[in-house]
Amino acid sequence: MIGMELTDTQRMVQEYAHQLAVEEMRPISLECDRTEQIPETYFWRMKRRAPGGAEGLVSLAGRGTGGDKGREEIARDEAQGAFLSVLVNEEMAWGDAALSTAIPGPGLAYPPIRSFGSPEQQRRFLSIYQDEGLHWGALALSEPGVGSDVASIATTATLDGDEYVLNGTKHYITNGARADLVIVFATVDKRLGRAGIKPFVVPRGAPGFLVGRIEKKMGLRASQTAELIFDHCRIPKDNLLAGSDRDRAGGFKAAMGTLDATRPMVGALGTGIARAAYEMVSEWVRQELPRGYPFRRRHLLDDELATLGHEIDAARLLVWRAAWMADQRMPNSKEASMAKAYAGALVMRVTAAAVRIMAPAEPGPPKWFVEKWFRDAKVFDIFEGTAQIQRVVISRRLFGEMAAQE
């Protein structure tokens, strides 16, 4: 059936996430951005109110329905995990995209462990996230020499008795310095190309695992972006995620499969920032437009804002469709790339327009918020596959493998 109306449960999850964004994120957003620090109290409060991050948030809100009906709803929710995640992510990014990445939980480490870990590995690696402490996870794919060309990963893993020895440098790793464990993609044999790439679970404190520099960034400044160095880093042999060994391209598939799952979520984050900026600039135009603003320019502004509002809706619908397809177990790489590419371009367009329109505004929070979102926005055209890589993915679905080789 074709429909775009949320169910009551979906709406409840969305409202709960929005409430967290309003109460926990917006009040500290500008300060965290300025200082590149997040107060410890934020982590504890989010641990309590959103255990397990977005995934946990979904089940928590589900429990809120109470009684048998509640349990029924949760059972149904398991079949719409991706959809609920994008609903939550849009609200979180409306609050603060950088703070949303720092919610305690396994984060980006979760999808590969979930998809490629044996039941024993899932228990071993995910159980700490259930305890009372603050724990994070991270995913390490990028290297100084490896960006879009994921298959050319240079970090090596060599089997030595009961241990793998990892050597190499990963960078741009979200939560890299605070993660309890990091999923590291490394090659067991460079001659095998893609087939040699495998995901390893590296716990914090493993010998030879060092944290390098923490990046200074234009935007998402409160989000921790770390360089991780593996210098003869030793981990137990069974920290290789088992499922990735099932077939030859398993490891590379794990990396790519992670991206199919995260791209709609990144699209949702972009949509959330775009919506935040759109709301703030619309409110400013309604309330604070300088006296004597020419009528004709005002008319153009209204028209521009209306178009941007529609474009935000379009981005959201692309995100929803990609997530819905994931929940239906339909292949969705093309749709996930469309969602991500569309939202990435849109959030730049909306935030740039907001900064331009609000140029005459007095210095202060409304203006600083849209300026922050503008700085945050640019990376949405870049991470989780650049705008160009998304177009490679889409065009190969459209024209076949021949597309975009040159």
């Binding site: 429909g3 929803w320 889409i394 065009s395 597309a403």
Partner: protein, 363 residues
């Protein structure tokens, strides 16, 4: 419920429309353009398949009146040929107006038009405000037991061939859109002049006319529906019309995308298919992405309409997106074909003109 898959019934009628689009509309497109109308053979096929009136009410009607289904059907028809698709939508409009707004008696009285070669022409748009319900300047005045209509309508499909018109006018301009009413006006009514648009840029298979109404008198029962409810129903008719036009725009875009994709897969330059070049492949990716965005906006508007929303804001948003995308995608498709795309040997130049010409109907 959020969902992105048509029901089995919707798929069945969509498949039917797709078949008619490929087997009838596509091959007849150039003939229809030259003749400026729907060829008789196609009229017969539309009657036989039920696509002449894919909604309920009386003899000749089939299927159910839901906007999602009609949006899917118009997308397929637009995929076949934009001009013919719009001509078909123009033929639906009179019956849709009677179904949505008219009383039972009015529906009965005008069922005849369903079976004739000449449909009812529905005059909704105006030059200044297009379809915007807040800018309708044509007025209706109560004069004793009758009404007098004054104003001008624009982009009226089948406006010079219809024997019966339905005209949108405002009975109480001080109330804004709440004063909107529809009036049955015979084509030979005194004071009514219909002038065909000459040499239009595109959509020539769906000729449009301008109507001038100067003190046109119609009896009391010429007003569709009763009471204030008819204003809401009239707004829903406007929204549905915009949804159908958006469907055609999405269909034209999809036709252009598919045509240029298959060309890029087989056209060899520099020793390889041109799709191998990122300059071409990325253009195709953008076309596909924007097309999907337009289609989802359309589906959302149609689903909201089916849920009872007046639907105007969402339909309007869907139209703006669909029209912008159709204009861009048809031009980009020609770009992929290069010089060949500019030639009448290929249908892309027709589709680009059709996409642009939709502006007259939906703006």
């Amino acid at each position: 419920m959020v969902g992105f898959a048509p029901t089995a019934e919707q798929e069945a009628i969509r498949d039917l429309a797709h078949e008619v689009a490929i087997e009838q509309l596509r091959p007849l497109a150039r003939v229809a353009e030259a003749e400026g109308g729907i060829p008789a053979t196609l009229l017969q096929v539309l009657d036989e398949t039920g696509l002449a009136a894919p909604f309920p009410e009386g003899p000749g009607g089939s299927g159910i009146l839901d906007a999602v289904t009609l949006a899917l059907v118009t997308e397929e028809l637009g995929f076949g040929d934009g001009g013919l698709a719009v001509a078909v939508v123009g033929r639906w409009l009179g019956q849709l107006a009677l179904s949505l707004v008219g009383t039972v008696e009015q529906r009965q009285m005008h069922l005849a038009y369903r079976d004739t070669a000449m449909p009812i022409a529905v005059a909704l748009a105006e030059e200044a405000g297009g379809l915007d319900p807040s800018t309708v300047s044509t007025t209706a005045r109560a004069v004793g037991p009758a009404y007098a209509l004054d104003g001008a309508k624009y982009a009226v499909l089948h406006g010079t061939t219809a024997r019966q018109h339905i005209v949108l006018a405002n009975l109480a301009p001080e109330l804004g859109p709440a004063g909107l009413r529809l009036f049955l006006v015979p084509a030979d009514a005194q004071g009514l002049v219909a002038v065909a648009d000459e040499r239009p840029l595109g959509l020539r298979a769906a000729p449009m006319a301008r109507l001038q109404l100067s003190g046109v008198r119609v009896p009391a029962d010429a007003r569709l529906g009763h009471g204030g409810d008819s204003a809401t129903a009239t707004l829903r008719l406007l929204s549905l019309y915009v949804i159908l036009l958006s469907g055609v725009a999405v269909g034209i875009s999809r036709a252009a995308l598919e045509y240029s994709v298959s060309y890029a897969q087989t056209r060899i330059q520099f020793g390889r298919p041109i799709a191998a070049f990122q300059g071409v492949a990325f253009l195709g990716a953008d076309m596909a992405m924007n097309l999907d965005a337009a289609q989802l906006m359309l589906w959302r508007a149609a689903a909201a309409w089916d849920n009872g929303d007046s639907g105007w804001a969402l339909a309007r948003a869907a139209y703006r997106k669909a029209h912008a995308v159709a204009t861009q995608v048809t031009a980009d498709a020609i770009q992929i074909l290069g010089g060949a795309g500019f030639m009448e040997d290929h249908p892309l130049e027709l589709w680009m003109r059709d996409a642009a010409a939709l502006a007259a109907l939906g703006e």
